[in-house]
Point group: C2
Chain length 225, copies 2
DNA sequence: GGTCTGGCTAGCAGTCACTGCCAACATGCC
DNA sequence: GGCATGTTGGCAGTGACTGCTAGCCAGACC
């Protein structure tokens, strides 16, 4: 049962291309056309597809690394070299996405207000993520079933906060105010929380709720109530 | 079932007594008077003190359960019976504190606005927590040194959210609005985030920053910026 | 006071995520 | 072809955590 290849890391294209074009694409994306690099990507993709199939089929906690490795045809040792933790199989390269988000925020006009800039940065990140809506639905439903997965995701979000706070600090008045750091942290954390709540609501509605409307409703509630 | 039945293990006695006798009985069966209970509490205390000493001395990750158990004079098996996870040694009974917070929130006037009620609930919880300021300082500094500890704490905070959302939902207008749930979640999550940011700032300042001022600054930033 | 019940304990074996190490092999470079 | 280097898999180990079991001992009952 072939799983949608859009699950694979970085893959955003269609499946209807011939192998040559595919290879050129890989070369383009990775910058390296070496056999090593290509087989690494194939293995990575195979592992991810196997993991997602097993996770959605029998649950995250109930699936062992040994099983994924066996069915993907690699050793456990290799699997852990590609994905540092079991949770990384679901959550992807959060450090990379964090950098994307940071870059998106820092590219906003310096005089844009915090909430405005953060909203634009989220929208920018959403466009550059290599996940299809179906992928996000799968991920969010997995998050709902595994506390450890949810914990790890919250931890990652915390790390994103540290990346975004410096920029937001610059957007605040009174930089000498000792509370400026606290204010920036609060803004970033709450914005990230609102985005996550919106994504979760979108996921639980099976994608019928409008994501931006949910986010705006969350932010409006926090600011107006 | 009597209210305090959950306190008594293996209650099998009669029901027709006056309150005073009942209390004496409970004390006998479950309370401080029983040898079992006393040794349980002593063991728990001994384990906690040993764990804190080792955690602060050599770090959370660098301390093993085996070491704590050995130095506290109990078996690992017993330690895990008292504290379900290594993180529980630091974080305490979060489920219990969650119930306290929920009760505090629900005891606020029904027409109080979400932010006001939440702030009062936090203040109430802070007063009923069994930690001294020194304890909190130790805990927050430990949180800063261990990602896994921080992750577990974020996970617990998520569980608190679920406890508080129903009450906040009732405080919102337009309960038929499909976004009401999202709005309530956003409010609770952001309020908890602000309180945590305030506590962290207080901890990093070694207790010199005023906790309530930090919380208010965080909330004000979120709402005004 | 003797006995019985049942909670509590230590200890052991086992699971699972994850890591360090090393030998074997593949690949890229010359 | 030969060497340096990257990659892999197996293996042994660690550390958190769980299930099971035999034995101990406080407390209830007679």
């Amino acid at each position: 049962m072939p799983v949608n290849a859009s699950l694979s890391f970085g893959y955003r294209g269609r499946m209807t291309r011939d192998a040559q074009q595919e290879q050129r694409d890989i070369k383009e994306r990775t910058g390296v056309g070496s056999v090593w690099e290509r087989s690494r990507m194939l293995a990575k993709q195979e592992i991810l597809e196997t993991a997602f199939r097993l996770f959605t089929g029998q649950g995250f906690e109930e699936t062992t690394i040994a099983q994924i490795a066996r069915e993907a045809g690699v050793s456990q040792r290799t699997l852990f070299r590609y994905f540092g933790t079991k949770e990384d199989l679901v959550l992807g390269d959060h450090a990379e996405y964090g950098r994307l988000l940071q870059a998106a925020l820092e590219s906003r006009p310096a005089d844009e207000r915090p909430w405005t800039a953060l909203r634009a940065a989220f929208a920018s990140l959403a466009e550059s993520l290599p996940y299809s809506p179906e992928d996000i639905l799968k991920i969010t439903s997995l998050l709902d079933t595994s506390p450890s997965l949810r914990a790890r995701q919250l931890e990652r979000r915390q790390q994103w906060t540290d990346l975004l706070v410096p920029d937001i600090t610059r957007r605040l008045d009174a930089p000498s105010d000792p509370m400026t750091q606290v204010r920036a942290q609060a803004l970033v954390t709450c914005a990230l929380a609102c985005s996550e709540i919106a994504v979760d609501a979108w996921g639980r509605s099976n994608g019928t709720v409008d994501l931006e409307r949910a986010y705006d409703a969350a932010v409006a509630a926090v600011r107006a109530e």
